[in-house]
Amino acid sequence: MVADLRPLGKAQAEGPEALNAPLFHSLIKRLEGGGRWIVLDLGAARSDTIRTFGRFRCRLDIVDLAEAVGALRDVTDPRLLRQLVDALLPRRGPEATDVVLCWDLINYLSAPALTAVMESIAVRCKSGALAHGLVYYSTRTMPQQPGSFVPLDDQRLINKGASGPERPAPRYSPEELARCMPRYTVERGRLLRNGMQEFLFRL
């Protein structure tokens, strides 16, 4: 598969800061090992993401869950949350998911919503599937809406959507994440220089 690319324009290059993301890099290295991969992208469809994963034998399932963050925030009943999330995610098909790209979505979900989302995803995943996420940790605020993180290259991510007013960040700790995502274990975590913590979770 060949993805068409447009080089970053000058404004983009001078805009948001690129983040070194070593765990994302480690994920890419695993894909480079070969084989077929089913990748679930919880973010919006972006050309840079398609380009990055288009190099591999991949099927990229794009959910754009950020659109539903507001609706999920207002629901507290776990059963109703689960039903809502199940309707937003693709049904489990014959090929289970290997890799989940959460980007910064975790920060925009309440604890019950995070549990519902990650549990629904878990039933669609293979055992041993990996989920990559970015959590605002040492910084107290975050953009009002989920960003548009995309790979700048195999080692760096960039948020093309962050601007405007900010809101308090939930600053989920690893312990809180473990409570919200009981089926996942933190394989690795790294503090990034922008105050976000990068996580690679394993199912």
Binding site: M1, A45, I62, V63
Partner: protein, 178 residues
């Protein structure tokens, strides 16, 4: 069933066939070259199986299936297609609900809203486009899927198709004719 430009088929006028042939002037239609292409205009609604052997621009509404095996299909900015689409090259600028099989390429422009699955050896998407579904980028899987489509008209096995979020579980039976 609609058939466009089929070799050996009797000539039909625009009034009889429901489409017009023109040299499109929109930006989208110029990208596949200067040759004429058929246009389904904004006021045309088609419910059925649309087949053809020439390039096609859809600015109207089409439901069912669209098959242009050796030609390009452009779903224009005003176009609304609720169908599974098979073509050599597919360009989407408008609303598309259904699966896209492009034997050469699929290009989704920033104005597009797509809910469905894309299978093609070359897939590109402009930032700003709304897309929910799957993009098959495994060359082996793409080859199998597109080869299956070129062998027969059978729809791909439901089990092999990734499910689209929010898409109804049962795909309605295809209609033939109008």
């Amino acid at each position: 069933m609609f058939e466009i430009g089929k070799k050996g088929a009797p000539e039909k006028g625009p009034e009889a066939s429901g489409w017009t042939e023109t040299r499109p002037e929109s930006a989208s239609s110029q990208k596949s070259g200067p040759r004429e292409k058929a246009v389904i205009g904004p006021s045309i609604h088609i419910d059925g199986d649309l087949r053809g052997e020439e390039d096609l621009l859809i600015e109207g509404e089409v439901s069912g299936t669209v098959q242009l095996r050796s030609n390009s299909l452009t779903i224009g900015a005003q176009g609304k297609v609720r169908a599974d689409v098979y073509a050599n090259s597919i360009y989407v600028e408008g609303l598309m609900e259904g699966d896209l099989y492009g034997t050469e390429r699929v290009h989704i422009r920033k104005s597009a809203q797509v809910r469905g699955n894309v299978t093609s050896p070359r897939v590109s998407l402009e930032d700003g486009a709304k897309f929910k579904g799957s993009i098959e980028m495994d060359p082996q899987a793409v080859q199998t899927a597109t080869a299956n489509r070129s062998i027969g008209n059978a729809r791909p096995a439901a089990a092999a198709k990734p499910a689209v979020p929010g898409k109804p579980e049962a795909t309605p039976a295809l209609k033939t004719g109008i």
